[in-house]
């Protein structure tokens, strides 16, 4: 085990360790808590490293999102390019540097595809009014699927891609013009394991956002008027284009990064996320095993689309274990409340939890 020989500064420099100290990753938290318990002799070093990281935490505070946007606007104005947004959906031609670049990007993606095999798209729309293009008179290769309120479906698209469609969702798949792309229009929530085909990029359209897979695995969550659209990359490379803003905005994501597009479609921002948690819903099973409360909260919020508020503090080391197979939120909270000793209230999309002393 490499950590056994770690010096204080090695801990400080380890992003995985920092994820625990800064509590940015639930997996890191449980990993390090366990590790420290099992390695009591390293505790002093761990504490010192932790203090150093906390002392530097100010420098780890990111720039406020709105400042980023303001500065970018100023840069655009000063470089005189605000009037010329990059074209994104134009077909590839010779001569245009952007298109040449796209080709390079696709080639790069192709090599990633060979290494990593498949990629995933996970799309989620809550209360979506996103318009699905009518599937009439497009041709025979159009493929439609729909799920009811408490129903999930697993199926293959005509191109071989695997899809998990969550409750209350609707999906249309069709080949793009001249069969040059594969296009998915989504209403609801879905998880795609996409068959690789470098000649035909896989695109997901939802709520003013276009996601193009440049390789491998990613998640997409599409929001509506009150919730952000979230694209989360699990593996490889993905381009996210926000068609909703005045200029055509685009970001590239790397593994473990997600892009948020605000409900009005005005801006995009980037952050990190927990890969494990993002794809949990498709298994149909919630499983907690010595899971710390913050993670439990996040998983339940994700799964049931609710907001959970802790009304008082719980014991810092409170952990729960339990398994729920497509249970209602009420049942889950009821049985968790029994073991973790809390009362709860469920009001629409909000849950209030009060821990017993």
């Amino acid at each position: 085990m490499k950590y056994k020989n770690y010096k204080v500064e090695d801990f400080v420099r380890d992003p995985w360790f920092r994820a625990w100290v800064n509590e940015t990753n639930a997996e890191a938290i449980s990993f390090w808590e366990k590790w420290i318990m099992n390695n009591p002799r390293a505790q002093d070093k761990v504490r010192q490293a932790r203090h150093i990281i906390l002392a530097f935490s100010e420098m780890e505070t990111p720039m406020p999102e709105e400042r980023k946007a303001v500065i970018w606007k100023a840069i655009e104005a000063r470089t005189g390019q605000a009037q010329k947004p990059a074209k994104v959906k134009a077909p590839i031609e010779k001569g245009d540097p952007w298109k040449a670049w796209l080709k390079v990007a696709l080639r790069l993606a192709a090599s990633l595809l060979i290494i990593l095999g498949s990629f995933y798209v996970f799309t989620h729309v809550r209360n979506s009014v996103n318009e699905i293009r009518s599937s009439e008179n497009i041709g025979t290769t159009v493929f439609n699927k729909e799920t009811g309120e408490r129903e999930r479906k697993k199926f293959k698209l005509p191109d071989g891609s695997l899809v998990f469609l969550n409750a209350s969702s609707k999906l249309t798949y069709r080949p793009g013009p001249d069969d040059s792309t594969r296009e998915v229009f989504l209403y609801g929530e879905a998880y795609f394991d996409v068959e690789t085909d470098e000649a035909r990029p896989f695109k997901v359209f939802a709520n003013g956002t276009e996601i193009t897979a440049l390789g491998t695995e990613f998640n997409v969550k599409v929001g509506q008027s009150d919730s952000a659209t979230i694209v989360s990359l699990v593996e490889g490379k993905v381009e996210v284009v926000n068609l909703g803003s005045g200029r055509t905005e685009s970001v590239y994501l790397s593994r473990g990064e997600r892009a948020f597009i605000d409900p009005a479609g005005h801006s995009m921002k980037k952050s990190n996320f927990d890969i494990e948690m993002e794809s949990i819903w498709k298994s149909g099973l919630i499983k907690f095993q010595d899971t710390p409360m913050p993670t439990v909260k996040a998983v339940l919020e994700e799964w049931y689309g609710v907001e959970i508020t802790f009304q008082n503090k719980h014991k810092p080391n409170l952990k729960v274990t339990g398994q729920f197979d497509n249970e209602s939120l009420n049942n889950v909270l009821h049985s968790l409340g029994y073991t973790a000793r809390f009362d709860y209230q469920l009001k629409d999309d909000e849950v209030y939890i009060k821990f017993k002393p």
């Binding site: 500064e9 947004p85 390079v104």
Partner: protein, 204 residues
Amino acid sequence: MNSPEDRNFKSNNSQPEDRILWQAFKSGNRLAFSTLYDLHVDSLYRYGCSITQDSQMVEDAIQDLFVYLWDNRQNTTEVDNIKFYLFKALRNNLTRMIMKNSASSGPVIRQGEYATKESCILSHMEELAHIEDTETIEMRVRELVNLLSGRQREVLYLRFFQDMNYEQISSLLEIDLKYTYNIYSKAILQLKRYLAEGFNLFVD
């Protein structure tokens, strides 16, 4: 799937992608330009804040940097490590601004007077509370920060959080390699001694 500890948790340093992006940017691609900004603005900001706590100045320097990049994109050479290149350029901008400021309005607050954001420290305090006594920790973390000189802080920051090696740091700061190493090891020693002292008082 890899075990979590093997996971490459940091993903902002991939060289081939850097090159592709840089070439596209050089050829005038706006998408590449905005991607450059999106990818690096956070770490530039943080790095800038390790040099001066005047966040307005850091923002201005970042803005100038990107405008300069765009205007001079055809003249720039190939860049192997975009982040390093940007850090260096930002540092130059900031140094120029600090010099200009100090010429017009007296010395700039920089060394030792590191203004810690209360809210930021306090949230960590809360979380530490169950391990150790809150007040003591709060005090100690603040002391710890102030213990370092501005330059020590910058070197440690680059080494710890930006994963730079000594060669890169010395070339960024334009100081001798040996001197860079000295700054680093002295700062580490100082921190450790301070922390070790403290911990003797808090034996469980």
